[in-house]
Symmetry: D3
Subunit: 246 residues, 6 copies
Amino acid sequence: MTDTVQRPSGRRPDELRDVRITRHYTKHAEGSVLVEFGDTKVICTASVLERVPEFLRDRGQGWLTAEYGMLPRATHTRSDREAARGKQTGRTQEIQRLIGRVLRAVFDLEQLGPRTLHIDCDVIQADGGTRTASITGAFVAAHDAVTRLIAAGRIESSPITDYVAAISVGIYDGTPVLDLDYDEDSRCDTDMNVVMTGSGGFVEVQGTAEGSPFSRAEMNALLDLAEQGIGQLIQSQKAALETGRD
Amino acid sequence: MTDTVQRPSGRRPDELRDVRITRHYTKHAEGSVLVEFGDTKVICTASVLERVPEFLRDRGQGWLTAEYGMLPRATHTRSDREAARGKQTGRTQEIQRLIGRVLRAVFDLEQLGPRTLHIDCDVIQADGGTRTASITGAFVAAHDAVTRLIAAGRIESSPITDYVAAISVGIYDGTPVLDLDYDEDSRCDTDMNVVMTGSGGFVEVQGTAEGSPFSRAEMNALLDLAEQGIGQLIQSQKAALETGRD
Amino acid sequence: MTDTVQRPSGRRPDELRDVRITRHYTKHAEGSVLVEFGDTKVICTASVLERVPEFLRDRGQGWLTAEYGMLPRATHTRSDREAARGKQTGRTQEIQRLIGRVLRAVFDLEQLGPRTLHIDCDVIQADGGTRTASITGAFVAAHDAVTRLIAAGRIESSPITDYVAAISVGIYDGTPVLDLDYDEDSRCDTDMNVVMTGSGGFVEVQGTAEGSPFSRAEMNALLDLAEQGIGQLIQSQKAALETGRD
Amino acid sequence: MTDTVQRPSGRRPDELRDVRITRHYTKHAEGSVLVEFGDTKVICTASVLERVPEFLRDRGQGWLTAEYGMLPRATHTRSDREAARGKQTGRTQEIQRLIGRVLRAVFDLEQLGPRTLHIDCDVIQADGGTRTASITGAFVAAHDAVTRLIAAGRIESSPITDYVAAISVGIYDGTPVLDLDYDEDSRCDTDMNVVMTGSGGFVEVQGTAEGSPFSRAEMNALLDLAEQGIGQLIQSQKAALETGRD
Amino acid sequence: MTDTVQRPSGRRPDELRDVRITRHYTKHAEGSVLVEFGDTKVICTASVLERVPEFLRDRGQGWLTAEYGMLPRATHTRSDREAARGKQTGRTQEIQRLIGRVLRAVFDLEQLGPRTLHIDCDVIQADGGTRTASITGAFVAAHDAVTRLIAAGRIESSPITDYVAAISVGIYDGTPVLDLDYDEDSRCDTDMNVVMTGSGGFVEVQGTAEGSPFSRAEMNALLDLAEQGIGQLIQSQKAALETGRD
Amino acid sequence: MTDTVQRPSGRRPDELRDVRITRHYTKHAEGSVLVEFGDTKVICTASVLERVPEFLRDRGQGWLTAEYGMLPRATHTRSDREAARGKQTGRTQEIQRLIGRVLRAVFDLEQLGPRTLHIDCDVIQADGGTRTASITGAFVAAHDAVTRLIAAGRIESSPITDYVAAISVGIYDGTPVLDLDYDEDSRCDTDMNVVMTGSGGFVEVQGTAEGSPFSRAEMNALLDLAEQGIGQLIQSQKAALETGRD
């Protein structure tokens, strides 16, 4: 991998943006996190609801689901408010389905018991990578909600089976780079979102050629970068969870 | 007015919560303010759009409109996400119509020219008074957007004709009190939202008897409190606008 | 108050339009009233439903709710049919929420028992003041429905605790005037809707400065006018209820 | 045809209900009619809009369309308000498509010029036959709107090519009967709506076997009844149009 | 009836298009039929659902309902996809209500027991007569589903009381003709859909004058044609049901 | 790779289902293909619309978009009809966004000129792999539509820059397998959809761990299988395009 690409942010190809994870960000939710990947800022909350969806009624197990939104002026130009338009875009639905799916991959839903963990990821400022920041922050919010359930004696042990975090990688100006910001994302040939667990397994890989198709070699380089970046993100999650009060 | 009522927050009857107005809160909007009335926190942004609604086409004048939303877990228990439900509640529509109407009362729309100032008020944490905080913060965001328009030479002089701010008052445990928080709001007999200009005129008065009807004398006491509180809020707006960069 | 203002209708500043309340207007509803404030005509029906909304299930108490609509050509120019557009406007929702709220203020919902009084106010001709006419007529329709419930032995005594009626007041050409018709409403500086009980308490006050803000003195003059007008409306309600069959 | 069937209303098999057509019923619409078939009461308005739908743009011809609605408590038990449910039922759509289609059959849309006649039929009290009453009343409202267009010099001669009216017929207790009211309609084996012109041509025939299929002989008897009834309705339309002011 | 009219397809006035009924067309449904009336092709499936709609709960009887759709490019030019538009057109709703109603006319819903037969008619290629082909094919699909219920011992005897089929007739170039294709349908003066049972009773007659009104004599000629055509269709249904495996 | 896994279908791990591509399947569309991957059957049509979406107005370039649907009983149990529910599911939106995106990757939209190629993929029978079959068939339908545009002289040369096809791979019972059918799909640990061009580049890779996370080695084995399968699919596309009339 060459170091010579000039990223708009001046970062090295394998360099994450500053990652900040602030727990207990709002006061009502069982888990509430502000996650920042550089200028991308997402409020992730985890709410415990003592009910399950209809299709799980009387099964004894729990559920975890996620919703995603963006404030209308989180972006460079104002987007329509989805609530006013009366429906969520396809992009929003894709992202919220992804967030729910990958968090369920590290949850033992039997162990959670007959309740729902409802994750909300709301982007208050967008600068690329909102879905990867959402996943990374949502894990911490969900973890805090679980800690509270255990402390309250409502579940005996944690249903969380592993860490999970996500990062984007892409080919910018011919070079594989880590953690695309908006400027890069809008000029990338290939854009890939990778979700991995703390033990290094892949939960989701979504790669898209925006311009030319990508080769197997490029894919391998991207996955190498992603593995490294996710390792760092999981360190940030651990650091956040070890700091301050539960 | 008696000082003997025991407010849940320990405040005096005529005491506002801590009011904080943080400008330049997010980076993309022409005006962006985080307004806090105690634990109530609202992000207010003002976006300049170089177009007007259909009903104003070719009139030369501008428009100002507002939308309001709450993050699903801004509240004690999680509310449905309006974008997922596919429609805004009646309450949301009432509030956003109010915000737009009262800001237009201090805007010379001819002077604004053929563009729209689109206000978004998004509650990230709710503890009573979200509509009054929204109005108070939205004014500052709109002011910043106007300052930028003038600096860019897109309008010659400010279309803003006066300050405007809002506060709630109510009768709690028999005593008129200022700036209801959630605990008070849910136990108040009468709840009134008052919107006034910097020069002391009323723009909107909305009083509702939640329990027993209220008397003319009570209404007068409430309006006295509101006048005083709005005076303080407008001082806070001025202080915020005089501080830091434009 | 000056008598010298020239109202479009030729009325004195403190003069109501002709008020007519026709009971038993349609034949199916438990209460059915045609209320006319001059050329404003609203059909108000009260339907008794032997069920309560989900949030009151198993509480033993009843509920009262209201819906409001306008025939598309009730107005000067045709408006879109809300059923065809697929949603109610914000204005419609505001009005129907208001009607329900103020009628509940004079209902003892425990005494009503586990049933719902569903009020429908449908404007067949609009000439200003449709919401105040709706409230004034809806009270009589609700009263008739209650009378029928008592006659049928389904409730023992009336859950109605007081009369309630509503009127608009405004500042027209500098003068406070009572009961705005459409011509006045569209040229008024300030428009206020006031809802009061038979015993003289305020249930709702909603004042809006359409043009210049209004002063405390103007507000007082408007409330004086409203008190007087509502007194007359409640006389009309009483007269209607005492006349003819139940 | 036997006279021995006992109709709930006591009418003879070939007897219409009392038909009343009241013109100028509301004041804003270019044509406004209250039509009553016994206890069925429908407000029919015709609005002239100086525009045409997109698919007719720049064709020079006009359009006529219709919408239909029922007040929620026009019926024995309260129906949901379509505006609140957010969509019109299939039944409503069928009826309004029918009304528009049959009125267009007696309109020369070229002659109407590039404008739309928008018909609204709103049922304020339902007792069977709302669609036939709607068509019969809507014709008169449309006629009044056309008269006004001619008087104003906006069109030279009438685009109306013939009268049109509608009636229901059915087989009640084995006997063909004319103009079903609600009691009959809900117990009929066969229900047929017939629309005819003043010159005796059929515009629409919609017959449905609610119970047993019907025979060719029964259909013929029903059509005989309908022809006679529509003749009387067209007399009523003519009488209404000849009476009073235009 | 004259033979001299020149139909676009070269058919005689009383000649059906080629009718093909292919059973077991798709593999999952309890009944699945591809019905072809010339170039009109509709997939009709019958699904057995072991539940009934809310309004039939605890009545013991069953229900039969139908839905209709067209692939967006089943037609000459592409139509909007109803699922993407977010609602079904009035035409779609009319057709699916018709299909359900006429099939229920030959079903003993008590005998079906507490289950729903859900019919889906999806047009994959349209060339006129999609609703009549749908009814004709749906009957066979429903029959297959019933056969399977009996074979599985879930019902004892068939709830089907008669055959039912449908055809269109119209007046083309002055001549009554049978089974209109698209070219004829779009140029017909009168268009009538007729639904009859195997024993010759009428279930539904829907005739519309697209151009000039039609006379009683024309209606009689059309009904004669329809009777003959439906006789042939029912032969085709019988032949299909007697051929191949159940 | 082991051959010892017992696939429900009896296929070898690297064996596709029978693939059939039938061109000119329906008669109205500019391109119409029935694509079958075993029991999965999808009708893919390509419609040429002589307009572009709003965001491309006056740019000179064209657009390609796709919609996806399933007949309600294409599946084992009946699914709700999206048109009747009033909205498309998140899954449907994801798939149709994918189809459009990957076809655009092999289209030169400048060369297409100011028109839209609208792809519709409608599943008439589902047995796993509906999105990969859709992409593979849609390419052929789009190719036919382009051929027709060239033959008509509406574009000079083909805007298609490469072939594109898609296949699913997954880890079934510990073994990587190619082209999952429904039985395998519902029991797979990992499911990956791969889209590649004729020249061997990746356009999209979407891998999801349904159960345990997958390793880098597993991902490599899956990509190997997918490369081989897509090579075969592109041969099938070529064979179909070389056979029969254009």
